[in-house]
């Protein structure tokens, strides 16, 4: 891993088109500004971890899903609208 020391208002450039700027440092954390083309997605790491966790949980259906499906049909399935 590359480790760089930056002061507020200093930045690093990644791949020529992504810039990460240190906006400020407080006792609660570091504020970063990110300049990137619209095609580059920027997410907090926690979001990926949370989605991975939900994916893992979606693999662990306990018992047949028919019971859950029947419950779903009985309570509130709405006809998918035409997109």
């Amino acid at each position: 891993m590359l480790v760089i020391t930056r002061k507020p208002e200093q930045s690093i450039v990644i791949g020529g088109e992504v810039e990460v700027i240190v906006l400020g440092i407080t006792k609660d954390g570091v504020r970063l500004g990110i300049k990137a083309p619209r095609s580059v997605q920027v997410h907090r790491r926690e979001v990926f971890e949370a989605i991975a966790e939900e994916n893992r949980a979606a693999t662990a259906a306990k018992g047949p899903i028919q019971d859950a499906a029947a419950l779903l049909r009985a309570t509130q399935v709405r006809k998918p609208h035409v997109r």
Binding site: R38, S39, V40, Q41, H43, V47, F48, A50, I51, A52, E53, E54, N55, R56, A57, A58, T59, A60, A61, K62, I65, Q66, D67, A68, A69, A70, L71, L72, R73, A74, T75, Q76, V77, R78, K79, P80, H81, R83
Partner: protein
């Protein structure tokens, strides 16, 4: 016309035996699984299985989110729209992952990580959305 909740709409773009789908980037947390069979077991509407064809023991339960949240729309980024080669919004099939706990009344679906599939090319991606706006655990069953 009042929709009959017990009747599947019968407009599934895929054959009954299932459809082989490719997720070139895998799924979040499962980057190495790229080939899946999407099928609906008997009496399971509206739930579906996304079964890995590479690792038999991995299969995901998913649902068409339109069945559980009518106004759900996926804001597709430029990168994703390009990768999907979508010519028309009609070609997009959206699915969300479903978690069925021991008490199925507490079922949830993840609206922050939808699967968007081009039904023509059968190529899909799992999209990562802002979890502040799209709940990771949206309750499916409306509790009275």
């Amino acid at each position: 016309m009042t929709p009959d909740p017990a009747t599947p709409p019968g407009t599934s773009p895929f054959p009954e035996g299932g459809a082989l789908l490719t997720f070139p980037k895998g799924l979040v947390g499962f980057p190495n699984l790229t080939l899946f069979n999407l099928f609906e077991p008997k009496d399971s509407y509206p739930l579906k299985f996304l079964q890995s064809t590479e690792t038999r023991e991995v299969s995901f339960v998913c649902v068409d989110p339109a069945c559980v949240k009518k106004d759900y729309d996926v804001p597709l980024g430029e990168e994703e729209a390009q990768a999907l080669h979508l010519e028309s919004p009609k070609d997009a099939l959206i699915l969300t992952m479903v978690v069925i706990p021991e008490d199925p009344r507490k079922m949830t679906t993840n609206l922050a990580g939808p699967l968007v599939i081009n039904v023509k090319t059968r190529i899909g991606f799992q999209i990562v959305l802002n979890a502040d706006k799209f709940p990771l655990r949206f309750p499916i069953i409306v509790q009275d």
